[in-house]
């Protein structure tokens, strides 16, 4: 586990990081955070793995700890339940801020291979899984209609977004 243990001196902080995050409309509430910890208190992942802490990550962004945040494997541990958003008294959307962080990390080559493979599969099968021969048989046995291959539309859409070019984290699990 890649724990943030060492002290980070102010010279290593990136004062522009918070502003970069805030430029995304989904992240704008971050300035209103007063670190009450309601996000972490209601987070199911934090409960089973306390090192993952929305409150701590939000603070790290505000301090400008860009490298520590974007390279941290923890930012990929969100279960997407959105309790953090529903429980925040300041209407900070931590879940959405985390997605902005993940997008930034992906551009810097930190995305787990799992998410990149899923995108590849979508262009081939239309869904997040690679094709398996058993699918057709299983569906036929239930008299369900056969699945069609995805059309040009989805490939066009994926191409349009450029996400097909993102490279995975090298030591990705």
């Amino acid at each position: 586990m890649n724990k943030v243990k060492k002290m980070v001196s102010t010279s290593e902080l990136d004062p522009g990081f918070k502003s970069d995050v805030l430029t995304h409309p989904d992240a704008r509430g971050l300035n209103a955070c007063f670190s009450c910890g309601a996000c972490s208190a209601g987070c199911p992942i934090h409960e089973v793995f306390p090192d993952y802490s929305p409150k701590k990550l939000a603070k790290m962004v505000r301090l400008g700890m860009k490298k520590e945040v974007l390279s941290s494997p923890y930012i990929w541990y969100c279960a997407t339940c959105r309790n953090c958003v529903e429980h925040c008294p300041q209407n900070v959307k931590f879940f959405d801020i985390l997605n902005v962080l993940k997008n930034m990390a992906a551009k810097e080559g930190y995305a787990p291979a799992a998410w990149i493979e899923q995108t590849k599969h979508v262009t081939e099968t239309g869904i997040v899984f690679a094709k398996e021969d058993s699918w057709a048989k299983k569906r036929e046995a239930l008299s369900l209609r056969p699945l069609k291959k995805p059309g040009e539309k989805i490939r066009g859409i994926i191409k349009e977004t450029g996400i097909g070019k993102i490279k995975p984290r090298v030591n990705s699990k």
Binding site: V48, Y77, K102, V122, V128, R139, E160, T161, G162
Partner: protein
Amino acid sequence: MSKYALFLGCTTPVKVPQYELASRWVCKYFGIELIDVEEFTCCGINQVNLSIEAGLLMAAMNLALAEAKGLDILTLCAACTGALAEAIEKLKDETTRNSVNEKLRDVGLEYKGKTKVRHISRVLYEEIGTEKIKREIKKDLSALRVAPHYGCHYLRPKSAFGGFEEPDNPRTLHELILATGARLVEYETLNLCCGGKVFPVSGDLSRALVQKKLDNLADKEIDAMALQCQTCYLMYSDQQKEVNQKYDKEYNLPVILYPQLLGLALDADPVKNLGLNLHSISPEKILSKII
């Protein structure tokens, strides 16, 4: 008679086709017409990890495909429901919609904001209603003790569902279960997430969440957990064995998708109409208590 474009999502049609089978059967029973849209794809929810814009564009493409047929969407997956509903909210903003439509135009589509999305449970609850469901029940399920599990994206973001449910105190699935005649079991970790969305990145974290809920339910003398999302289903059924191994437990909780439970109460064939033979945890305990 209502009509919807059936949005299967990624997982149901290939990994949990019994959910699709039972949903089609229940919808047909109540006169809800389901139209298949061949070009529907993944809703885009997981692509948000790599690009928020890409996820939104994929959701918008699917919405536009339904809109081109003049249809609203009926979903089975909680996550697709949340992703599409949230996209509808975001696309109410004209600037966002215009920029998305500029890209959709390249593939011959446009989303004008007409198509809406509703989960099958919400359609059953709001359109058919629990009173009508109760009148149709043919079998006696009163010996069955059932615990509900909602699925996070069925409830959140609250803002995308127009106040339909109070995420911390949801009721629709409770009432839908009661409408079948089954007994409802309340429990403390009702709102605990199944961990399905972290599973591709960390199986251990997701299983830790599954274990917590199974542990909470272990002493409640429950016959089945009823769910309304195939990802939650896979986490609590197929991962149950893994959890037993990892945590040295012997949980043996049957898991059933709501349309299957309703189908049983309506006297559907458990195998032919509901695909209960495909469950990894035997539903025998459920079937033996139905009269």
